[in-house]
Symmetry: C2
Subunit: 415 residues, 2 copies
């Protein structure tokens, strides 16, 4: 006897066979219809969101802001759907093709992953954004959002499902789990007979819980203890500008810098300028003993814990190193392998940093804030993978696909 | 306080930074030295193998054959090492490169995965083959072989490690776990702070245990419930030849056919010829009612369990379908998504099968036995992935790598 979740998995697999065969035009037409329908159903969506907001009135303002859906945010979601419709469809792309030694024509072609499980938290727009990306890449999706956004998510999913139904497409291409217990979440993470992959989106705590409990292959996203290293030869103005941007432009996101590593030969001269620049954004500085000696009262002592902490806040920990090798060693040890930058004017050091830093994105003379599907030109982003399997770095539509080998013969057998 | 296994993981990570930076020439030189050293140390290896063989004397002959290492098998392993040295090195290959909207030069380059965990069973040659492939792709490896081959594996690993040591390379690039308890295997599967990926090689039981218990990303390999579908329009001689080859050429391996699906319009005429051909190899036939009606006493009834069973033996289950759609539906339901073939002379049906079958390798008019890294021209094979994440189908050196993005700027910050 199958559980409710297994039945959802089965329905999603059935729908996946249909969705995988849709043409690009069919998918785009549906995405544009979904955009239209979201706007038409604005009142219902906002009304459902009011119920969620009423439940959340004791939560912090930041949380409520993430949960809130109003007319303008619905327009934003609709615009997002239209943008996904305009993206190039990776399905059918040929990665490689060749003829083997007995004349078999082998073609490695891009195909959908199949059934994607998505676990996320309070932001209801993920329901729409993620469904759109999965659908455009020919996949079906089973959504499991946070309980705080449940009423909003249920209505959003219903609107999208209705468009599928009215277009004669199996609506089970988009399903949402309406029970938000932890037990069910755990069962979901172990639904390996049905899910091709599980993508968690949200806090570090959520992602770690999924990695620890899942038997379904997981794409780990988002942890970002990012470093900027200022080399002895750095252009000072550029260094100040990049540190300020990497730390302050949007400190709450994963590609913001959390650590500054600086060469001792430039530290005494440059750190006060950086501290001054960051003071205008009220950044709290923590530093090792050498940093404290340079900055005095402007910096608090950094503890061992600081080096591995992702603050997502106006805090920056600073360490002085004697050379680039010490910087690389420190970064490779404490980084979450997301994004790291070197500011340098030394060619050899730029190459050394690019070669030896073991992270998804390694920068020379640019802000870590560019690690982003849109900035990379992918036109979309389902998350930023910090693991090495399957996808690494910003994930667009292509990363929501796999490949299969098509082999055309004329009666070949193996001797 | 770190456990012994965590310490091995840590050592492997340290070594991984060094191995990742080796040039192709350096790696090839070491692989060739390893080949030479294996031959020089033949006597020691065979002596250790004798200890394992003595322990295994009550095991079946098939098992003992897998475990046995003699001079000729050592030559085979040495030759394998030399072949890996000759393969093209994927490290440094550029997958994509472009300039983004603010002038950042973005290069997606192939880099090693890092630390690879390998869990395998009785065949000691895996110790050498897998270590060589991991090393050539710039990775370090931690090996956990079966307890039956422990003495042989320890000596093989020691020989390889000595070559590294004598070449001035960190020998922890190849480490072997000398304790073979299940508890330790379970700890190994959860060593996610150190292992980038875990590859199980061996029986279905082993692979399923790893998939169920691991928190480290796993590449699932080897399960092969492969189908051959004979379409109405098939060339009869070709069909008989391919079925015979797919079933009988080497029934113990994962790319052999386990099921024959046949169109009812050709079944009455063709099945007796296939049965006759397979009788010469003493293949046991099982069939549904229609097959039984055609073949009478030459076939036993197939049970529901047969459709999902991988026999790895001289057994073939046969099902009659009314059309290609029924065939595709049956295959997508029961297949392990490894390799499936259609024998047809109908263009539309060939395309339909290629498009709709959801397996790693889909064949038209060829034997499923070609799903193999060597037959594909990869020059090597670490396994055949039946999952959709990271790698699908035969895995060569390229599949033992990941990518990173190198981003070169001139002071860009995000506005």
């Amino acid at each position: 006897m199958k559980t409710d979740l297994e039945l959802m998995g089965q329905k999603s697999q059935v729908a996946a066979q249909e969705i995988a065969q849709l043409s690009t035009d069919q998918k785009n037409k549906i995405l544009n219809l979904m955009a239209q329908k979201l706007i038409e159903e604005s009142h219902r969506i906002v009304a459902a969101n009011q119920i969620d907001l009423a439940q959340a009135q004791d939560m912090p303002a930041k949380f409520i802001d993430r949960l809130l859906i109003d007319e303008s945010r619905i327009l934003g979601m609709a615009h997002g759907l239209q943008q996904v419709a305009q993206l190039a469809d990776p399905i059918g792309d040929v990665e490689r093709a060749w003829v083997n030694h007995v004349g078999l024509k082998i073609t490695q072609q891009r195909v959908p992953l199949g059934v994607i499980g998505l676990i996320y938290e309070a932001r209801p727009n993920v329901t729409v954004d993620a469904s759109a990306l999965c659908f455009k890449a020919g996949n079906t999706v089973i959504l499991r959002g946070g309980k705080e956004a449940l009423q909003t998510n249920l209505v959003l999913a219903e609107v999208l499902r209705n468009v599928l139904k009215e277009s004669g497409i199996n609506p089970d291409a988009i399903q949402i789990i309406s029970e938000t217990s932890h037990e069910l979440a755990n069962e979901f993470m172990r639904l390996s007979d049905y899910l091709s992959v599980l993508i968690p989106r949200g806090s570090k705590k959520l992602i770690q819980a999924v990695v620890k409990n899942a038997t379904v292959p997981v794409i780990e996203t988002g942890a970002g203890n990012c470093h900027v290293y200022i080399d002895e030869s750095a252009d000072e103005k550029m260094a100040v500008k990049i540190v300020e941007n990497a730390k302050c432009q949007r400190p709450s996101v994963c590609n913001s810098a959390e650590k500054l590593i600086i060469n001792e030969k430039i530290a005494t001269q440059l750190l006060p300028k950086i501290a001054e620049e960051l003071a205008s954004s009220h950044v709290l500085l923590r530093g090792d003993q050498k940093v404290q000696a340079i900055l005095g009262g402007k910096v608090q002592p950094a503890t061992a814990e600081d080096w591995e902490t992702e603050y997502n806040d106006y805090i920056l920990a600073i360490k002085v190193v004697s050379d680039i090798d010490e910087a690389i060693q420190h970064i490779n040890r404490y980084s979450t392998h997301h994004s790291e930058a070197i500011i340098t004017n030394d060619y050899q050091n730029s190459q050394k940093f690019l070669n030896q830093i073991d992270s998804a994105c390694v920068y020379v003379n640019a802000s870590t804030r560019f690690t982003d599907g849109f900035e990379f030109g992918f036109g979309a982003e389902i998350g930023i993978s910090t693991q090495k399997m399957h996808a690494r770095g910003p994930m667009g539509l292509r990363e929501l696909t796999t490949t299969k080998y098509l082999i055309q013969g004329s009666g070949q057998i193996r001797e």
